[in-house]
Each structure stands twice: as structure tokens, then as C-alpha cells.
């Protein structure tokens, strides 16, 4: 699946997007954040406080409990500051 990063999550991870294949057992957005955080220092930094990182699956806001099965595009970003 495609993973997108925005704002300081993007800056910390060091790239705007990537393709990943999550291993079995990673079934929710929260699981995915934990798994990503284990992929290296930059990921650990981006997800050091997973409670403040927001997520969207296929362009709809979701909570950490949301299942990721079937998702084509998952995005991680800080709280929004538009308007």
C-alpha cells in the first residue's frame, strides 16, 4: 500500500511517500504506526508520540483503531492548521 507523510511527519521521515507491505499482524492504523516506528531512527522520531499523529485511509480521517485491510493509501500527518 501507499503511505503518505505531510508537514513535520514528512520532514522527520525524510520523504513524502513510499510503498510498503505491512507484515501479518499489523491490522490497524495504530499497529502500522508502531511497526513504522521500528523501521529506523527517522521513523522512530516521526512516530515518537503516536497520539499526536493523525491518519487518513483513502482520504478519509480515521482513528488509530481503524483496520487497514483493503486500504490503498494511508496518510500520516500532524493536527491540521488550515483556514
Amino acid at each position: 500500500m501507499k503511505i503518505l507523510y505531510f508537514a513535520w511527519v514528512r520532514e522527520r521521515v525524510g520523504k513524502p511517500e513510499e510503498e510498503i507491505e505491512a507484515p501479518a499482524g499489523v491490522s490497524t492504523v495504530g499497529d502500522l504506526m508502531t511497526w513504522l516506528a521500528g523501521r529506523g531512527e527517522e521513523y522512530a522520531y516521526a512516530f515518537e508520540n503516536p497520539r499526536v499523529v493523525r491518519a487518513a485511509i483513502d482520504r478519509t480521517h480515521v482513528k488509530a483503531e481503524a483496520p487497514i485491510a483493503g486500504a490503498r493509501e494511508i496518510a500520516f500527518f500532524p493536527p491540521m492548521t488550515g483556514g
Binding site: 503518505l4 487518513a56 482520504r59 500532524p78 493536527p79 491540521m80 492548521t81 488550515g82 483556514g83
Partner: protein, 159 residues
């Protein structure tokens, strides 16, 4: 309904004219323009840079315009949000609502702005003396958006 994300500035008159031209059923038009300020809590800001999530931003704004249409009697809504680098005094966002009566136009414009602040996938970075800094979300903006949630509204109506 018009929803546009763009780098360029917008023209308030032109957007209002596009909503009202040739119509005689509109009695009230409210516009909200958000501008870049030159300082924040006393510290100078040289510019803002607005990042957004292309595709999701349009969809999210359109969903909230539909929610506004379901909630109030509106005869037209336009939302334009800029992205990229924006200097103090420049426009950031425009919301225009048209209705027969003023209450609906005001309420829908406030609702849309509260949602844009907290739910539309945009992020502001400020150019300060010490370097670029991401703007933190305000709790007051969350509270402003929360007041439109169905539950508190219903209890207010019951008073």
C-alpha cells in the same frame, strides 16, 4: 458549490458575482477572508507556507459544504483555499455563503471556517527569525469546531 485549491490569489467580488449573477432569490451574502498576519504572539512572521493533501483536501471541503447544505437553506457556497508561500497581508482562504436570509448565511460560513481550521488537511509553516516552524493546532479551534457536532446542538435546542 465551488471548491478550489490554488496557489494564486482570489477576487472576492468576482466570486460573489459568480454566485449571485442573474438571481433574485438571494437576500444575504456572507464572505469570510482569512489573511496572513505579520506577527504571531508578538514575534514577526516573514511568510507562511501552506502544505496540503491534494485530493483529500478538496474531498474533505466538499463533504463539509454538503453538510452545510443539509443543515441550512443555502443558495450558493464557494470555498477557495490557497497553498504555497503567502506573505503578510495576503489572502489565505475565502468562504462565501448565499441564502435568502442572513442567519443561514452567517451560520454556514462560521461552520465551514471552523471545520477548515481543524479538519481540512492543510498545514501551516511560519518563517520566523529562528527558522521555519510548523504552526501548532489550537485547542480553541477544536472547541469552535466541536460546537457544531450534533450532540451539543440538540441539547442546546432543548433549553
Amino acid at each position: 458549490m465551488t471548491v478550489r485549491l490554488q496557489r494564486e490569489d482570489f477576487d472576492v467580488n468576482a466570486e460573489v458575482a459568480a454566485l449571485t449573477r442573474g438571481r433574485a432569490d438571494i437576500g444575504a451574502v456572507v464572505t469570510f477572508t482569512g489573511l496572513c498576519r505579520g506577527s504571531e504572539a508578538g514575534e514577526p512572521i516573514a511568510a507562511l507556507t501552506l502544505e496540503h493533501y491534494p485530493g483529500m483536501a478538496e474531498a474533505e471541503i466538499a463533504r463539509h459544504v454538503e453538510a452545510a447544505n443539509a443543515r441550512w437553506h443555502l443558495l450558493g457556497v464557494t470555498v477557495i483555499h490557497r497553498y504555497g508561500r503567502i506573505e503578510p497581508g495576503e489572502n489565505i482562504v475565502l468562504v462565501v455563503t448565499a441564502s435568502s436570509h442572513r442567519q443561514d448565511a452567517f451560520a454556514a460560513a462560521e461552520f465551514l471556517m471552523d471545520y477548515l481550521k481543524t479538519r481540512a488537511p492543510f498545514w501551516k509553516s511560519e518563517e520566523r527569525a529562528g527558522g521555519a516552524q510548523w504552526v501548532e493546532a489550537r485547542q480553541s479551534d477544536d472547541a469552535a469546531a466541536d460546537r457544531w457536532e450534533p450532540a451539543p446542538r440538540r441539547s442546546e435546542a432543548a433549553q
